[in-house]
Amino acid sequence: MSKVMEGRPWLQTGGKRVSVVRHDARAGVGMLAPAGVVILAVTIFPIVYSVWMSFNNIQLTENGFQFTFNGIQNYVDVYSAPLFWHSVWFTVYYSIVTVAIELFLGLLIALAIQNVEKLKSVSVVVMLIPWSLITVISAEMWGYIYNGVYGVLNAILQGLGVIHSPINWTGEPVTAVIALMAADIWKTTPFVVIILLSGLQMIPRDYYEAARIDGANGWQTFWNVTFPQLRGSIAIAGLFRILQAFGIFDLPFVLTQGGPGSTTTSLAMLGEETLFQNLHFGLGAAVAVSTVILILGACLVFLSAFRGMVGEEAQ
């Protein structure tokens, strides 16, 4: 905002210029309008409406949707259902574990790319392929790899002597969670790599030169130069991924269908089930609103934990 002013100091002066300013402002509002209308109609209106829905009992009848105000009853019902708390717990630990592993592996791979002479641009292209892959395709692909009867993962592990008989990966609670996490980490770590690689390339060469002159070894250089300079990029990558992970839907929908039982039922899956399979619109809205509050809370916690780092990067 201030930059615009700097470029046009006459904006602050009065007189005839004011009408020009007013004309520009009117043009500005006109140019904002199309984006504003679409965003308001598709995000703000539905969000407000969802909150209203969550305080109503909604029946789908021949005459359309019938609303009956019932206060906080939907929230009482949702919060007294063990399945909701199971979904909250699953979504939270799933997000934390996958994002932590992704940040670790992402940093490892980004550093590896930084340290090699060849393969750099090829690596960037390879990293972008899983990013552009439809999650549903990735889920089917991993479903075939994990298959308990003819899956190639069992064949490889048996060949290596790690397991004695085939495992039904998506059929048992513990292995289903691991399988889901591995498929997710496989698809999203490359995205983290690209962000961290950009961050690495922005670190001034002089810093490394100084560390070298001081006689720092590779490990010391990493802890004293690379890592502190990269904290902003790590925070951004982590925030992006936490947000996505909390809304996870596509992968378990196809790969485990939320099972076995409801082991891998995420909050988004629970919401979808309540809304569109059981047609409990009021309850579903309460789940959706609770999910949003949880996500905003998670963002705040993450941001306040990383405030210093993000602030530094923004300078």
């Binding site: 300013v21 402002a25 500005g28 598709v42 089917e140 692909m141 947000l243």
Partner: protein, 276 residues
């Protein structure tokens, strides 16, 4: 500056290991799409197929409507990308260059709404689309996809518009160009890298979106690729050969696109990291 030998060796070992891990599942999907069903469900599987067949590709595009799914995805993604670029660049220009009020709150507001998950907007939109009779239509996806991708596009394009010298705007005005004309003729051509970045991100987001497409367009003729694949169930077993044949065909164009536009994807993520 050349890295010490041991660092380079470790780098190559780690990098090659992960490149193989990333690419192997693709190899497996690719060869499976050419195997007859008896080989697909054989255990232990052959790491290199003995028999090759095109039959799954014929099934995907004949018996199943994979061509239609791809067409639907292309239409929805291109239309959404077009509207995002048009509306996003206009809004980004207005925020960057015109004396309007509440710029800072607007930018923060855009960040906040891009955080909201689709789950919270999907039901009201579903009810609305149902009332208007727009379920199973292209606009049922184009409108929400445009809205959801606008915040990122506006942010990115605003940053690019700020880099264009303000003096150009004044010069154009003295020459009698209207505000819209100077946006269209002077600023837009100077921000093509930003347009590319916004375009690639929007296109990939629309191409891969599943939740809204599943809820709004479940009809077989209106399904996009992810919905088509997810609802592609065989009667007794999952038809992996057919699914992978369709998947391979739908992966190729997007990979080509990403390879061509990789510079702008990377610059988009860098921008996000710096300005975010």
């Amino acid at each position: 500056m050349k890295k010490p030998l041991y660092q380079r060796v470790i780098g190559y070992v780690v990098l090659i290991f992960f490149l193989v891990v990333i690419l192997l599942p693709f190899y497996w999907m690719f060869v499976t799409s050419f195997e007859p069903n008896s080989d697909i469900s054989a255990y232990p599987p052959a790491y290199f197929p003995h028999h090759w067949t095109w039959s799954h590709y014929e099934e995907a595009f004949g018996q199943f409507h994979f061509g239609r799914y791809i067409l639907n995805s292309v239409i929805v993604s291109i239309a959404s990308t077009f509207f995002v670029l048009l509306f996003g660049s206009m809004a980004g220009f207005a925020i960057a260059r015109l004396p309007i009020k509440f710029k800072q709150p607007m930018l923060i507001f855009l960040l906040i709404i891009s955080v909201f998950p689709p789950l919270v907007v999907i039901t009201p939109l579903y009810m609305l689309l149902r009332d208007v009779g727009w379920l199973d239509s292209y606009q049922a996806l184009i409108i929400p996809y445009t809205a959801f991708n606008l915040p990122f596009a506006i942010w990115i394009l605003r940053n690019y518009f700020l880099q264009v010298p303000g003096a150009l705007f004044e010069a154009a005005k003295i020459d009698g160009a209207s505000v819209f004309m100077s946006y269209w003729r002077i600023f837009l051509p100077l921000t093509t890298p930003g347009l590319f970045t916004a375009a690639v991100f929007t296109f990939v987001a629309c191409w891969t979106e599943f939740f809204m497409a599943l809820v709004f367009n479940p009809n077989n003729t209106m399904r996009t690729i992810p919905v088509g694949i997810a609802l592609f169930n065989g009667q007794y077993t999952v038809p992996y050969g057919t699914i992978f044949a369709g998947s391979v065909v739908s992966i190729v164009p997007i990979v080509i696109l990403v390879v061509i536009f990789r510079r702008w994807v990377v610059s988009g993520l860098t921008q996000g990291a710096v300005k975010g």
